[in-house]
């Protein structure tokens, strides 16, 4: 079964540093998403991306966050200046025209 691939699986960074989380969505999917899950809490929507632009974003997705599809296969989330509270598991997801989302296994981001 096709799957969403995320790298790295773990990322440790110092507060104030920039991080880029990478994802390879399922190849024929058109919609791409980032969600995050703080330890022990619910999964929260960050942003959705379609046709090379953001289609929806949450209040969490402020100016410190950006997304990009730099080529035909990768989808990235950049956090410009990380804060302690950005520590979370970040999930990439993708979908076709239907609303069924396929999630990757996540990148655990630890900000020290």
């Amino acid at each position: 079964e096709p799957e969403v691939t995320q790298t790295p699986s773990h990322q440790v960074t110092q507060m104030g540093q920039e991080v880029i989380l990478r994802c390879v969505p399922i190849s024929n999917h058109l919609y791409f998403y980032w969600y995050r899950q703080i330890l022990g809490q619910k999964v929260e929507f960050l942003v959705s991306f379609y046709n090379n632009e953001i289609s929806e974003k949450s209040e969490i997705f402020d100016d410190q966050f950006s997304v990009e599809r730099p080529d035909g296969s990768n989808f990235t989330l950049k956090i410009r200046s990380t804060k302690l509270e950005d520590s979370a598991m970040y999930f990439c997801a993708s979908s076709g025209f239907l609303e069924k989302l396929f999630f990757g296994s996540g990148t655990q981001l630890s900000v020290l």
Binding site: Y35, K42, V43, F45, Y50, S58, S95, G96, L98, G106
Partner: protein, 113 residues
């Protein structure tokens, strides 16, 4: 109005028993209600989903019951097995690709053998 409330927070069921997890939503414009299953270290995986034009949907041992007037829906796991031990999230969204899934807080299910 965007919240989805899920209960219980945790659930212990004996093997062969029925697991029931409940969710309630506020936004009547939501029209897609999926349940996701998450194992430790993995991303959520779609288990089963329902739209508000039906009151029940069954797939194998998993059933969603939907009560539109009460704005509630529930997941029933029949003949629960130890392999069902995981965290279950209900969610809600508009019936359109690209829109946000609003998740409940999750229920940790433990099925004892």
């Amino acid at each position: 109005q965007q919240q989805v409330k899920q209960s219980p927070q945790s659930l212990i069921v004996q093997k062969g028993g029925i697991s029931i997890i409940n969710c309630a939503y506020e936004n009547t414009a939501f029209d897609y209600f999926p349940w996701y299953q998450q194992f430790p270290g993995k991303g959520p995986a779609l288990l089963i989903a329902i739209r508000p034009d039906v009151s029940e949907k069954k797939e194998g041992r998993f059933t969603i019951s939907f009560n539109k007037s009460a704005k509630q829906f529930s997941l029933h796991i029949m003949d629960s097995q130890p392999g069902d031990s995981a965290t279950y999230f209900c969610a809600a969204s508009y019936n359109q690709a690209g829109t946000a899934l609003i998740f409940g807080k999750g229920t940790t299910l433990s099925v004892s053998s």
